[in-house]
């Protein structure tokens, strides 16, 4: 599944990022493949979303979240 399908406070493991530029950017911001990712908050207008991985805390648009393959944690 992809990251945009998670609701607030749900977590997953980052498997693959389909867009190469996005992957390079997210890696540099601390979102590393194989690590846990969590949706902290969804903006009042449903987009963008706030996500965390470790102590990294960023916002990202739904369209980009759709490009992130994850494995949902229960």
């Amino acid at each position: 599944m992809t990251l945009d399908q998670l609701i607030e406070n749900e977590s997953g493991i980052i498997k693959h990022i389909n867009d190469e530029n996005l992957a390079i950017q997210l890696l540099a911001m601390g979102f590393i493949l194989g690590e846990e990712i969590k949706v902290e908050r969804i903006a009042p207008l449903k987009d963008p979303i706030l996500i965390t991985s470790g102590t990294n805390y960023i916002s990202i648009r739904k369209a980009d979240a759709k490009n992130m393959d994850i494995e949902k944690l229960k």
Binding site: Q25, A28, I32, P44, D64
Partner: protein, 646 residues
């Protein structure tokens, strides 16, 4: 000083690592802001001395890696690549987020550069229940590691010592060309970083650093309270600018009236006296008086950025701004525009999508900047009394807020139109770090206010004084013998019987002004601006405003000073008394004043901004479009307003 006694260091690091605090601690006030060649990214340089060695410091824009994602990051990357082999690169890392921060370090090491790693925010590490083995980290990385706390200037001396005793050595992190793919290469780096961090960083308990931040975010980004807080903040800022600042402004105003009287009395009467009092002091006074308002505005903007609030506003506004072809990140340039369009347009560089960035640049000058404050203040005072209140709110403050709102709405709507016109296939993103909330670093706020006020006073001041002098010359001289003819006309007995001496003096003065070179220029453009309710004196101001909008006030001061020999009145009083020579009625009627206000909200009257737009877009096309569309908007709206109210 011999060459060996000079060392160059370059500061680089992720955004929000306290790099600028460190830069300020190292260099103090011994710094200047310039530009990197070819681009308008702020280049902060400074220097300090230690044991006879002069150390020059360059502060690069914050960047996450050497794989640039924006103009800012490109500058940092290029600068590092071209760095001299003797330059020491200081990588500033946030120790509470070591893993991510080390990525940049490893990339720079693999460029074959000499590096000192600085770990900032050591105090927070303890609070997060963590400990770090510094000597082990230094051994594993193979470079000096200096722990600091830039906020309270701890570790700065140790860093300075490390800089002068630095020994060059060969070093690398991963084998070069081990992967052709950036993603794979980065993962390789992270794997190794992970091992190192796991060995050096000891977790003694749960990391609670983000708990408070997330709690605050529950309120700040709330679907209702979030927007309410934002509006409330804007409201407080505007009330502050117009009520808190009135006390120092009155002091400055009275000071300048006193000064011009003093100088007028002390210096011998004549042309020089007249030039200094009515040209230079009048122009200067019109500028210095706005320092309190500009300082307050920059203070607020710096605090909002420094605390981490601005990133949340961007997050809240992204979806809305996208409708208008903008980006959540546009909120920073748009809000900064309330201070000055120049830094605002430069801050648009963080927007990676070209179309969104271009639209932000194109509409930012529609947002009322601090240079309009002087114009608004003086014009509003002509139609709304100072002590007029709407409930508890100061009426003048409300009106100014209305003008700011008008500018904002115009910017948003123009952006929407441009979104439909400008074509782009580039993918748009909004990847923005939410920094942890922290109290503002007051020293940084102070530095920021100081440097912005300095720019305003000296850069703008220079132009303003030059224009004041030119204006004084243009309004004090006329072609041929025009002035003599006017003086002669009033020496006839019939006129002397009809008027008092004072009346004659002011009649002569106003006729002379009209006949002067300035009058001729104003009269030439008068037919064009007459439909808006403007006379030739306003016409002159519109022309001089092109240097900077606040010149309007100085121009008014100079134009109305000529003929006021006693210097007892403020500009406002002089304008209040100004008469329309044709009808004999008050010149600044509600219709004319409102029309003029609207004109200043919309018109593109700033050469400096146009120059920046030219450099940022790298094309003459965009500044020209900007002048034309904003000018047309200003003219049409002023025309409309004047006709409604007259």
């Amino acid at each position: 000083m011999s060459k060996s006694n000079i060392k160059n260091i370059i500061l680089i690091g992720n955004p929000n690592t306290g790099k600028s605090s460190l830069f300020n601690s190292l260099t103090g006030l011994n710094q200047k802001v310039g530009n990197f060649p070819g681009v308008t990214v702020d280049k902060k340089t400074g220097s300090f001395k230690i044991k006879q060695t002069k150390i020059t410091v360059v502060d690069l824009p914050g960047t996450y890696s050497l794989n640039p994602n924006s103009e800012d990051e490109k500058v940092a990357k290029n600068y590092i690549e071209k760095a001299n082999e003797d330059d020491i690169i200081i990588v500033v890392a946030d120790v509470t987020n070591l893993k991510r921060n080390l990525l940049l370090y490893t990339q720079i090491i693999d460029q074959g550069k000499q590096v000192i790693l600085v770990l900032n925010m050591m105090d927070l590490l303890q609070k997060n229940n963590q400990e770090i083995d510094l000597s082990k980290l230094s051994n594993l990385l193979g470079c000096p590691v200096i722990p600091i706390n830039a906020r309270i200037e701890k570790g700065i001396e140790e860093l300075k010592h490390a800089i002068i005793s630095f020994q060059k050595k060969e070093n690398s992190f991963i084998e070069s060309n081990s992967s052709s793919n950036v993603v794979d290469e980065t993962m390789l780096r992270f794997n190794k970083i992970n091992q190192i961090v796991n060995e050096c960083l000891i977790k003694k308990g749960e990391d609670k650093s983000y708990l408070l931040t997330k709690k605050i975010d529950n309120i700040i980004t709330h679907k209702f309270y979030g927007y309410l807080i934002f509006l409330g903040l804007l409201f407080i800022i505007f009330q502050a600018i117009f009520s808190w600042s009135s006390y120092p402004m009155d002091l400055i105003e009275n000071g300048f009236i006193w000064l011009s009287n003093f100088v007028a009395d002390v210096l011998p009467k004549g042309v020089l006296n007249d030039l200094i009092v009515n040209g230079i002091i009048a122009g200067l006074g019109g500028i210095v008086i706005f320092v309190p308002q500009i300082a307050i505005l920059f203070a607020f903007i710096t605090i909002l950025e420094d605390t981490g609030y601005m990133a949340r506003v961007s997050f809240l506004m992204d979806r809305v701004l996208r409708i208008f072809g903008l980006n959540g990140k546009s909120i920073i340039p748009l809000l900064s525009s309330t201070a000055c369009a120049i830094p605002a347009i430069m801050s648009a560089r963080t927007i990676s999508n070209y179309k969104e960035r271009l639209i932000t640049i194109m509409v930012a000058p529609l947002i009322s900047c601090s240079a309009r404050i002087p114009v608004y203040t003086i014009l509003i005072a002509l139609i709304v009394p100072e002590d007029s209140y709407f409930g508890v709110f100061n009426m003048q403050g409300l009106l100014v807020m209305g003008l700011y709102l008008l500018g904002f709405v115009a910017a948003i709507l123009s952006a929407w139109v441009m979104k439909l016109i400008i074509k782009s296939k580039q993918h748009s993103t909004f990847t923005l770090e939410m920094p942890i909330y922290r109290s503002p670093r007051w020293k940084n706020v102070g530095f920021e206010i100081f440097s912005k006020v300095k720019i305003f006073l000296f850069d703008a001041g220079k132009i303003i004084i030059a224009i004041s002098i030119i204006l004084w010359v243009l309004s004090s001289y006329a072609p041929g013998t025009k002035f003599e003819e006017i003086s002669e006309k009033y020496t006839t007995e019939t006129i002397q019987q009809q008027h008092t001496e004072q009346e004659i003096e002011s009649l002569i003065a106003s006729e002379k002004l009209e006949a002067s070179y300035a009058g001729i220029i104003g009269k030439t453009i008068e037919p064009v601006i007459r439909p808006l309710g403007f006379d030739w004196k306003i016409g002159i101001s519109l022309v001089t405003s092109f240097a900077a909008r606040e010149v309007f006030v100085g121009t008014m001061a100079t134009l109305y000073s000529v003929g006021d020999e006693d210097n007892t009145k403020s500009i406002r009083e002089k304008m209040m008394m100004a008469k329309n020579p044709q009808t004999g009625e008050k010149l600044y009627t509600t219709a004319t004043t409102l029309s003029l206000l609207i004109f200043y909200v919309f018109a593109m009257q700033c050469m400096a901004t146009l120059a920046i737009v030219y450099r940022e877009t790298n094309s003459i096309k965009w500044p020209i479009i900007q002048v034309v569309y904003m000018g047309a908007l200003a003219y049409l709206c002023s025309l409309l307003v004047f006709n409604i109210f007259s």
